[in-house]
């Protein structure tokens, strides 16, 4: 166990050490590859800038999280609703499935130029695209889940006197939970990526993506790396908090986790 952890950390440690040394000795261009220590100190600077009233880093991050929060929630709710509808009705499925398959193959950022025309720069465009990017994977997985419901379980509920609505709530929804989580998980990555990427091109002046992009255009590599580090960290934390936690309390406890096979 301990040996495993050590082995796992080793390559990362060597990589970071190698990077640090190469940057310090200028074997690589430190402007393009600032040393990890420089990135960390830049991160601290960004955090401290504007303190005590307004930490710049925190402000950017909160702006992005707010956009993600709204977009993601709307996307998940709408996605589950639409997915249940498509899963229960064959005609609805056959009509919307092709549309969803094609639309979900369009990366969120590609929609940015069009939505900028429609909704302008800033929050409306960013939030809408975040919601859309979350929506599609959630619909897709929920539909798959609902359509795969064990018919015997539906029958069992029916004969015990459950009404159609009760059957949906007490059989279809929990049965699909494993699939829905998979969709929500994918929806979170897609939503997060889209919000950040759309902030690259459509944010007016705040957001983590805006901060990264502003620095990219001015070749301020340390800010770029620091921003990306924050972005990745937040994603991992959200994933743990929102998904793994809920999973542990539900499908893992029900012994349904084997259905989690990702496609």
């Amino acid at each position: 166990m301990k040996r495993k952890t050590l082995l796992a950390i080793l390559p990362i440690f060597i990589f970071l050490l190698g990077w640090e040394v190469s940057a310090r000795l200028e074997w690589v261009n430190p402007v393009l590859f600032p040393a990890p220590s420089a990135i960390i100190s830049e991160l601290v600077d960004l955090f401290e800038k504007g303190l005590p009233a307004h930490s710049e880093l925190i402000n950017h991050t909160l702006a992005t999280l707010k956009r993600l929060g709204i977009g993601f929630s709307v996307g998940v709710l709408a996605g589950i609703f639409m997915g249940v509808l498509m899963g229960l009705s064959n005609p609805v499925f056959h009509f919307f499935n092709p549309l969803i398959l094609v639309l979900m193959s369009i990366p969120g950022i590609a929609l940015a130029p069009l939505f900028i025309i429609w909704l302008g720069f800033g929050d409306p465009t960013i939030i809408t695209l975040g919601a859309l990017s979350t929506f599609f994977p959630v619909v897709y997985s929920t539909t798959t889940g609902v359509r795969s419901v064990d018919k015997q379980m539906v029958r069992a509920a029916q004969i015990m006197g459950a009404t159609p609505l009760q059957v949906i709530m007490s059989v279809y929804i929990p049965w699909s939970a494993a699939f829905v989580f998979n969709g929500v998980k994918l929806g979170l990555v897609r939503g997060w990526m889209t919000v950040i990427a759309v902030e690259f091109v459509a944010a007016s002046n705040y957001g983590l993506g805006y901060m990264i992009w502003y620095a990219t255009e001015r070749l301020k590599a340390d800010v770029v790396y620091a921003g990306i580090l924050v972005m990745i960290l937040i994603y991992f934390i959200l994933d743990k908090l929102l998904i793994e936690n809920v999973e542990k309390k539900t499908i893992a406890r029900w012994g349904m986790i084997s259905q989690k096979q990702d496609g």
Partner: protein
């Protein structure tokens, strides 16, 4: 043999499936056209499907710009993706041979695999410049980890008796890899390839859109139209991005699946 018997009905059912697939697009197209013609929708930013068709005709057959966009995109995609396929499967196979190597790199791979692809693009824009190199590298990076990881897992999960049987028959090295390990882990590898093509597609379009020196590509086509406020080019570009992305998964991976794991009875047909 049985495949030949099924062919005529298979072809007509495939045609029917294609038509079923396109039907909703047709319905929405017609509805939309009616709404525009009757003046319910009167927006420059939401042109009618007939306008899109005219635009399509112009871009595809009058000046041919569309193909140039499409082919530059596909060229970048395959350059980055195929590189990731070859290097990824090779490294995945090597890591699977050795417990220490596995323990060393498995967590890192797992971590890097789940890094949102968009994170790589600014890094490569800074370090590799604003052109092709950046986009191809972003495609490579976003697909590489998924392929490596799934190859490694696939080979590790092979039934030991199969490997032992191969050893007994004297298979070693590259032969062992190509003739036994690769086919036996195909299910997992295809899983990785499927994940990776999705990541690659997103990295490609995002990269093209964001890399300033790139002139051609579907992502650029959509982005450039912004300067002319040309919604019809954007919509057209988006539709092509959607369909191409979908078909890449459908056609390319389904063909691979049909000729490998399905033929060998390793996967249940969906």
């Amino acid at each position: 043999m049985s495949e030949q018997k099924q062919k005529p009905s298979g072809l007509s059912s495939r045609l029917k499936n294609t038509l079923d697939f396109l039907f909703p697009f047709l319905v929405i197209g017609i509805l939309w056209e009616i709404l525009v013609r009757t003046g319910v929708i009167q927006l420059h930013s939401l042109p009618a499907p007939s306008t899109l068709l005219v635009k399509f005709w112009e871009l595809a057959f009058v000046n041919g710009i569309l193909w140039k966009h499409l082919f530059s995109s596909l060229y970048r995609l395959f350059a980055g993706y195929l590189l990731a396929v070859f290097i990824g499967t090779a490294i995945g196979a090597l890591l699977a041979q050795n417990q220490v190597a596995h323990d060393m790199f498995e967590p890192t791979l797992n971590l890097l695999m789940s890094v949102p692809t968009i994170a790589w693009i600014p890094i490569f824009l800074i370090t590799l410049g604003l052109g092709d190199k950046t986009v191809i590298m972003a495609i490579f990076t976003s697909s590489f980890f998924a392929i490596t990881y799934n190859t490694m897992r696939g080979i590790e999960m092979i039934d030991k008796s199969i490997v032992n049987a191969a050893h007994l028959m004297g298979l070693r090295g590259l032969h062992l890899f190509l003739e036994v390990l690769l086919p036996a882990s195909m299910l997992s590898i295809i899983n990785g390839l499927r994940l990776a093509i999705g990541y690659a597609w997103r990295a490609l379009v995002g990269g093209e859109l964001l890399a300033a020196m790139i002139e051609w590509g579907l992502g650029k086509m959509v982005y450039q139209a912004r300067y002319f406020n040309d919604a019809s080019v954007m919509l057209l570009g988006l539709l092509i991005i959607g369909f191409t992305g979908y078909l890449l998964d459908r056609v390319f991976l389904t063909i691979l699946e049909r000729n490998t794991v399905e033929k060998w009875g390793m996967a249940v047909k969906k």
